[in-house]
């Protein structure tokens, strides 16, 4: 009885995972090794197993490499920026007078709960070359107006900025809560021992928040690899494909050009990359809790 009750309890969860994760995963894996396209849909007789041909195709596809580079750039620049901004705002909120806290917390968290599409459209106006607020501010301080969404380099920066702006509030809330859990006495001791503000931040606050930061980094990495809505609305992948993310490319290939085989291969590659990142992160010691 005892030996089967455990497995019985996890069975429903396992069944759900199998149904919604494992089976689709195997389906996509299978699909990625076929030529599934519009002609196959017309007649299943056209379906062929083509092994790794889709992967070879993607390997030689410059657009795929560019999408990988763009997405990687957003992940590598966006995740640290998000964490830093989350941390700074969390510490700021916790250090200001309590009656202002609610206001700032709401203001910083608002982007998280806003619809990405609405947010991206608002940013489109802010980033407009001629009429946008950002360029007006730049000009006001004697800097040149920038062609934010028209230059391949600036567009990637703009996308990263929007992604970070949209996401940092979540980490801020979590980090503010974690910061509140740190006893004030730890800082009292630091003051008595003569540790300054910078030292308090670097040798107390950051190390204690490290496990939380690690968790947020994991979530952000997973989220940013799946970059889609921001470039979809802001730039549609342009200019010159500079803001085409892997997921956006997958969408184009699969749902606009009916090349499901190639799109599935892209999905598999994205999955493997994300696995790799999660694995790397789990094997990097960022947490004192793991001992």
């Amino acid at each position: 009885m005892k030996s089967i009750s455990g497995p019985l309890f996890v069975l429903p969860a396992l069944a759900l995972i199998a149904l919604f994760v494992l089976i689709p995963f195997l389906g996509v894996l299978g699909l990625s090794m076929t030529n599934f396209d519009i002609y196959v849909l017309a007649s299943s007789a056209n379906l062929h197993f083509i092994g790794g041909a889709n992967y070879v195709h993607l390997f030689h596809d410059q657009a795929a490499w560019q999408a990988l580079e763009t997405t990687l750039t957003v992940v590598l620049a966006g995740v640290p920026a998000t964490l830093a901004l989350s941390l700074i705002c969390a510490l700021m909120i916790e250090s200001i007078a309590p009656r202002w806290r609610g206001l700032f917390r709401t203001a910083f968290f608002l982007p998280v709960v806003c619809s990405t599409v609405a947010v991206a459209i608002s940013w489109r106006y802010l980033l407009n070359t001629h009429y946008g607020l950002i360029n007006h501010l730049l000009v006001a301080v004697d800097l040149p107006a920038l062609n934010w969404l028209g230059s391949p380099t600036l567009a990637v920066i703009a996308i990263t900025v929007v992604v970070v702006w949209k996401g940092f509030g979540y980490g801020m809330i979590i980090l503010a809560a974690a910061r509140r859990e740190i006893p004030e006495e730890l800082y009292d001791i630091a003051r008595i021992e003569g540790a300054g503000v910078r030292q308090q931040l670097l040798s107390i606050t950051v190390p204690i928040l490290a496990p939380t930061l690690g968790l947020l980094a994991l979530l952000d990495v997973a989220g940013y690899w799946q970059l889609f809505a921001e470039p979809y609305v802001l730039t549609q992948g342009g200019p010159m494909g500079s803001t085409m993310s892997l997921l956006l490319l997958m969408y184009d290939r699969g749902f606009r050009w009916w090349r499901w085989g190639v799109a599935s291969a892209l999905a598999m590659i994205l999955t493997v990359i994300m696995w790799l990142f999660v694995w790397l992160q789990r094997h990097t010691k960022t947490s004192w809790r793991e001992g």
Binding site: P183, L186, D188, I192, E193, G194, A195, I204, I208, G291
Partner: protein, 344 residues
């Protein structure tokens, strides 16, 4: 020379709430002073003010003869131990001990030597590589003490350092602390809400209530000669019995407007001297504490507690007369609470 001196120290918050009210206190070098009072009486604020973690509104604080009002905490030559130990969870015992020395940029070899010496002294040498969460309560306590000792302070401030420990450990640590105090010869200010701890540890005891010093004296004097009703009621367990002059009846002295008090352990089952006083009442409950019984009697609606030797003759709901010597009777002014001398 006084190790610590507080002179007319006030702390007022927001211009209205007086947290510390005219505190005057002198601690001599090597003295262990305990500060006791109910929660919210200002004892932690007092300690934090001495440490410089909080600013005082007026008055002066001297440590080692130096006025420290305008000095930062790290310049005041104090060390502090907190109730929750305040160990850094992400640092090993060694790192926790070394934290202050590192912050002050002491040479690595010196740090190593001093940390090891202190660890040996506190029996922590085998635990230097452990993290706080891998330590027992007592070991954490010792680490916190060690960190404070490494500051080599003029005054050692302890804020309820034992209250997070469980009871058996607490008395053990109390003994260790006293031994430590003796061997270090350091001035200590020990804050607690537990009056028995305050009495057993302190060479002198400061009783604090509502931000005011009620009495400063040796434990014996605090217990035997309380200056007012608050001190009398706060110190001693079970607490002192209070009786109105009506209850005490004709046998009482002819004092007006007073309230009488007698400690439970002074109530006796027999008359010992001719001029002994007595009260009688119905036994409400008998509680055996082993070698001693705790009895509650109701007299004219007032409840009295007595600690007496076990006596099989005692029955619940029976009438009982309890005796006490005139010397054991205290009198307090009904409105001011000040002690009134009883004519004996």
């Amino acid at each position: 020379m006084a190790s610590l001196e507080l002179s007319h120290v006030y702390k007022v918050i927001g211009g209205r709430q007086t947290v510390l009210h005219d505190i005057n206190l002198i601690a001599h070098h090597g003295e262990l002073i305990s500060v006791v009072g109910p929660s919210g009486c200002g004892k932690s604020t007092l300690l934090r003010s001495i440490a410089g973690l909080e600013e005082i509104t007026s008055g002066d604080i001297f440590i080692g003869g130096r006025r420290v009002n305008d000095l930062q905490p790290q310049q005041r030559r104090i060390a502090m131990v907190f109730q929750n130990h305040a160990l850094y969870p992400h640092m090993t015992v060694y790192q926790n001990l070394a934290f202050g020395l590192r912050a002050r940029r002491v040479a690595r070899s010196v740090v190593e030597t001093r940390v090891r010496r202190t660890a040996v002294r506190l029996g922590l040498e085998a635990l230097l590589g452990r993290y706080p969460r891998e330590l027992s309560g007592g070991q954490r306590q010792r680490t916190a003490l060690g960190r404070a000792m490494l500051r080599d302070p003029e005054v050692f401030l302890l804020d309820e350092p034992l209250s997070s420990l469980d009871v058996p450990l607490r008395s053990e640590m109390r003994r260790e602390l006293m031994a430590l105090h003796k061997s270090l010869g350091m001035t200590m200010v020990y804050v607690t809400h537990d009056q028995s701890e305050a009495l057993s540890l302190g060479e002198r005891v400061v009783v604090l209530s509502a931000g005011k010093v009620q009495q400063v004296d040796t434990p014996q004097e605090i217990y035997g000669n309380p200056l007012n009703r608050f001190v009398a009621a706060f110190v001693g367990w079970p607490p002192m019995n209070f009786l109105s002059s009506e209850i005490l009846g004709t046998s009482a002295m002819d004092l007006q407007n007073v309230e009488y008090g007698v400690r439970p352990e002074r109530l006796m089952l027999q008359q010992h001297a001719a001029d002994d006083l007595s009260v009688s009442g119905r036994i409400e409950c008998i509680e055996s504490l082993g070698g001693v019984w705790q009895i509650e009697i109701i007299h004219n609606g007032a409840r009295l507690i007595a600690r007496v030797p076990p006596d099989a003759a005692l029955r619940q709901d029976e009438e009982l007369r309890l005796w006490f010597g005139r010397a054991d009777l205290y009198a307090f002014h009904k409105t001011t609470g000040a002690r009134v001398k009883v004519q004996r």
